[in-house]
Structure formats: structure tokens, C-alpha cells
């Protein structure tokens, strides 16, 4: 870097326009500082006004005691935390089952030829029905209905059937995600796999699915975030003592709603880091892809 024209460039008319009358710091740096100041001020004003509105509302003292009682929070915490463990276990069990069931449904739907029509039909009926039923109703119907049948050899445990209901519903959505990924793989990839003499299954397994799944990883991860919260719906079965149910039991006894806040804090403690991670992962994935295309 001995070239003096690079290191000692004389100021020109353009420079003064870019830096403005103050000189020194560039236009961009000044703009950055200004943006930072505006952002901080507007944030403080916004949350200040919102807090003032809440605290000055006529019933605030009562709400504060019923929802934000530190004493009730501390008292409820051990039970709610114990219940949250049930949610975590349920979450991981569902995360193991859903990708497998969904993949089977998606593959069934992607098979071509008249011989596979019954499988395609079955897959369409499955996704239509289980995406059409609100999850809370599905948990109630399966969680209470199937154990009531008292079928030999099937577990009668409500938590088990809650897991099945979650899996059935989420697999329908996840299967559609897989299918959109499979459909996004160019038709020519299928042609060239078949031209090598691969069967339909081999074509899916070795040529299409690896590309399809890579396409939909961001969408799958968003589903994981929403599953993490929906496991709380198992509380409607009553007998499963998860975080929400534990909070409900305490609230029914004390008429104080703070235990719900405890459960909320626990769910947020998991879902916020998870959401941040997914955002980071998706951004990185996008950056990598746009790089790979150059």
C-alpha cells in the first residue's frame, strides 16, 4: 500500500457532500447514531405509554394481586415446573413420531400410476380430516374416546392418547410441508432417476427426498416452535398433570391466577430461544443458498 493516491487522497467536492458540514464522521455513521437515538426514544415512549395505561386503569390493583402475586408465584412454582416436565417429555415424543408418520403420508401421496391410487386417496383423506379438526377437539375426542372403548392390548393412558392426537394432527400439516418440498424438486430430477432404472421408491428415497427435505427445513422448524406450545393443550384431558393443568388446579383452590403466569414464563423460556435459533438458522440457510447459486 505504498501508492500515495490511495492513502492520501485529497478531499474533493464530493466528500463534503457525503460527510456534510461537520466533516470528520461519514454521513453513514451520523445516520447510524441518529437512527439509534430515534429507536431508543420511540421505544421508551411506546412502552412508557402502554405501562401508564395499564397501571392507571381502574381495576389495576386487583389485577396486580390476582396475576402478579409474587407469593403465589413462589408457591405454585414447584408444581408447575414438575408439570412442565410432562410437557417437555410429550414434546420430544411427538417430535420423534411426527416426522416419521408425516413422511409416510407424504410419500404415499407422491407415488404415481393407477396402482397407487388407493394410497394417494388414503393420504388425501388423512390430511383433509386431520387438518380440518381443531387440535383441542381432536385431543378431547381421542383422549376420552379411545380409552373408553377399552380395547384389549391398547393402553388406556390419557397421556398416551393425547400424544397420538397431537401426532395425528401435526403429521397432517407436516406431510403437506414434505409434499410441497417434493413438488418443488424439478420434474427432470425424477426423469433422470427413473432413466437409471431406479424404482419409484428408490427415486423418492435417493433422488427426490434428500432435496425435498433440505428445501423445507425452515418450514419444519417453524412447526417445531408451534408444537412446543401446543403440547399445553393436553391439559384439557384433566388427568394429565402438565404445567397448565397444575396451574389450573392451584388456581381453582386459591382463586389467584398467578400460577398461569408461572406456566407462561416456563413456555416462553423455551420458545423464545427456540424461535431465535430458527430465525438464525433460516437466515444462514438462505445466505448459503444464494452463495451456492453464484
Amino acid at each position: 500500500m505504498d501508492d500515495p493516491t490511495l492513502t492520501e487522497r485529497r478531499p474533493s467536492a464530493v466528500d463534503s457532500v457525503l460527510t456534510g458540514p461537520t466533516g470528520g464522521r461519514s454521513w453513514f455513521q451520523q445516520e447510524g447514531v441518529r437512527a439509534g437515538v430515534i429507536a431508543s426514544v420511540s421505544t421508551v415512549v411506546f412502552f412508557g405509554v402502554a405501562a401508564a395505561l395499564i397501571v392507571n386503569s381502574p381495576n389495576w390493583p386487583r389485577v396486580r394481586d390476582q396475576f402478579f402475586s409474587w407469593e403465589d408465584f413462589r408457591e405454585a412454582w414447584p408444581d408447575v415446573l414438575g408439570g412442565f416436565w410432562v410437557n417437555v417429555v410429550l414434546f420430544f415424543q411427538a417430535m420423534l413420531l411426527i416426522p416419521v408418520v408425516a413422511l409416510v403420508i407424504a410419500v404415499m401421496r407422491s407415488l404415481r400410476g393407477p396402482a397407487f391410487f388407493p394410497l394417494r386417496l388414503l393420504s388425501i383423506i388423512y390430511t383433509d380430516v386431520f387438518r380440518g379438526i381443531p387440535l383441542i377437539l381432536l385431543i378431547l375426542l381421542i383422549g376420552f374416546g379411545v380409552p373408553a372403548l377399552d380395547i384389549q392390548g391398547l393402553p388406556n393412558d390419557a397421556a398416551f392418547w393425547g400424544l397420538i392426537a397431537l401426532t395425528l394432527s401435526y403429521s397432517a400439516y407436516t406431510a403437506e410441508i414434505y409434499r410441497s418440498g417434493i413438488d418443488a424438486v424439478p420434474e427432470s430430477q425424477r426423469s433422470s432417476a427413473r432413466s437409471l432404472g431406479l424404482t419409484q421408491f428408490q427415486t423418492l428415497r435417493f433422488a427426490l427426498l434428500p432435496q425435498a427435505i433440505r428445501n423445507v427445513v425452515p418450514a419444519l422448524m417453524n412447526t417445531v416452535v408451534s408444537l412446543q406450545k401446543d403440547v399445553a393443550l393436553i391439559a384439557v384431558l384433566g388427568v394429565v398433570r402438565d404445567a397448565t393443568r397444575e396451574a389450573q388446579i392451584i388456581t381453582n383452590r386459591t382463586f389467584n391466577y398467578t400460577p398461569y403466569l408461572a406456566a407462561t414464563v416456563l413456555f416462553l423460556a423455551v420458545s423464545i430461544p427456540l424461535t431465535r435459533y430458527v430465525d438464525w438458522y433460516v437466515a444462514r440457510d438462505r445466505a448459503r443458498r444464494s452463495q451456492a447459486q453464484v
Binding site: 427432470s188 426423469s191 432417476a193 432413466s195 437409471l196 432404472g197 431406479l198 433422488a207 451456492a292 447459486q293
Partner: protein, 248 residues
């Protein structure tokens, strides 16, 4: 000369659009046949139908005298006897060149990986891709992609190779290396059917050139004859336009 491949009055429509309208053409063993003609004349569809990638509506396609479109034919076995290379190479982007090339051998033919890789490396070496075996398709040039796709099609020792405008997607300076590979295969006596816009190459390498128009063969002759004194008016018009564009 024995007939290797024959299409007899093949009809094929996509919806309302008739693409093959009584296509009749035959290819002798060790012959190179070039299909030329305007876009939409049915060249690509013909090749796709021969490899059983698209079903035909009527007519017959025979390979060594056996109707391969008949019911009860093992289509996967037929596809292994026929190699096809596409315009846009279609290598699998999630696999290395070596895995791309050996996939059919390993999965469809159930050959051991070691043996398949040995054969693959030999072929890759011969076509100048020896050092690209571990690369992924997006890291190598279009010409290298297309040569790898040809190697992939050759892995099952096909009795006939179909080439669908294999140089059309390439940068002009990469066309030569791919045509060189095809020329070598022709010299070694591989039976080939090429759909192509490279008239100069067709004149060089083909034993017979077929001019396709509206889903059937309008005129066919040895290249010198077809390019020198085309009989049909449509053929003359087509060749005149190609010459104008500087492609002949």
C-alpha cells in the same frame, strides 16, 4: 445390419396437443441417427417415450424386436438397457459426481459399491473427469456436468444411448468437449440417437439424419444427401433458416 430400435406409427399427445403423430423410425445396430427439426417437432418426446419415461398412446416401440411398451414388460430393466442424457444434465445436486454416476449401479443393479466405483472412476478418467469425482455438480462447469451425465448413462453398459440436445444449455466454448465425447462413443460403435441443433456435428457424426416435422419423420437420408439436396419443401426452408443463423 440388424435393427436395434424401431418405432412404428407411434402416437403421443399431452392433453389436446399431439406431439407424435404416427412417428415411424428405425435405428440399426452401431448406427448413429440424428433427429433434427424445429422446436416442438417431437424430438425430445420421442426420446422420452423410447426410455419409457412417458407412456405412448398408440403404436409400438421395439428393442431387438421385442415390444417394450407391451403390458407386463419390466420397465426398470428396459431403462437399464437404454441410456439417456438430457439437455440440462440433471445431475443430482446433493450427491458428488461419483455418487451420481454410481447411483444406478448401486441401487438399481444392486452391484457392490467398490465394483461400481471402480468402473465409474475408469469412465470418469477416460472422459477427463478423473479429478472431479468428489466434486458436487454446482462446483464444476456445465460441460463437466454434461460429461458426468454421459458417464452416468454409460454405467449400465447401455445397448443404445439417447442424447436430447445435450449441448443446447452449454456456453459455446464448452460445446466442443461434449461433442468430443459423443464422437468417441460413435467411433467405438455405440448405437445412438441424438436430437440436436448442431447441424455441423450431425453432418459429421451421423449415419442417417431424420428431419422431423409435426410429430413424424418428413424426410430421412444420409447426412450428405439430406443437407446437400433436401427433397421436401419444409426441410429446405428449415435448413435455409439454420444456414442463415450461421449454424450450418
Amino acid at each position: 445390419m440388424t435393427v436395434k430400435l424401431a418405432l412404428d406409427h407411434v402416437h403421443k399427445a399431452y392433453g389436446d396437443r399431439v406431439v407424435l403423430d404416427g412417428m415411424t423410425v428405425s435405428v440399426d445396430e452401431h448406427q448413429v441417427v440424428c433427429l433434427i427439426g424445429p422446436s416442438g417437432c417431437g424430438k425430445s418426446t420421442l426420446l422420452r417415450c423410447v426410455d419409457l419415461l412417458d407412456p405412448i398412446d398408440r403404436g409400438t416401440i421395439t428393442l431387438d424386436g421385442v415390444d417394450i411398451t407391451a403390458k407386463g414388460i419390466d420397465t426398470n430393466a428396459v431403462r437399464r438397457r437404454i441410456g439417456i442424457v438430457f439437455q440440462s444434465y440433471n445431475l443430482f445436486p446433493h450427491m458428488s459426481v461419483l455418487d451420481n454416476v454410481t447411483l444406478g449401479a448401486r441401487r438399481a443393479q444392486k452391484r457392490p459399491r467398490r465394483e461400481a466405483e471402480e468402473q465409474a472412476r475408469e469412465l470418469l478418467d477416460r472422459f477427463g473427469l478423473g479429478d472431479k469425482a468428489e466434486e458436487f455438480p454446482n462446483r464444476i462447469s456445465g460441460g463437466q456436468n454434461q460429461r458426468a451425465a454421459i458417464v452416468r448413462a454409460l454405467m449400465s453398459d447401455p445397448e443404445i444411448l439417447l442424447l436430447d440436445e445435450v449441448t443446447s444449455a452449454l456456453d459455446p466454448e464448452l460445446v466442443g468437449e461434449v461433442l468430443g465425447v459423443i464422437r468417441e462413443l460413435a467411433e467405438r460403435g455405440l448405437t445412438m440417437v441424438l436430437a440436436t441443433h448442431e447441424m455441423g456435428f450431425a453432418r459429421d457424426v451421423a449415419d442417417r439424419v431424420c428431419f422431423l416435422n409435426e410429430g413424424r419423420v418428413l424426410e430421412e437420408a444420409p447426412p450428405a444427401e439430406l443437407f446437400g439436396s433436401p427433397q421436401e419443401e419444409r426441410t429446405q426452408q428449415f435448413l435455409a433458416r439454420v444456414t442463415e443463423a450461421g449454424r450450418l
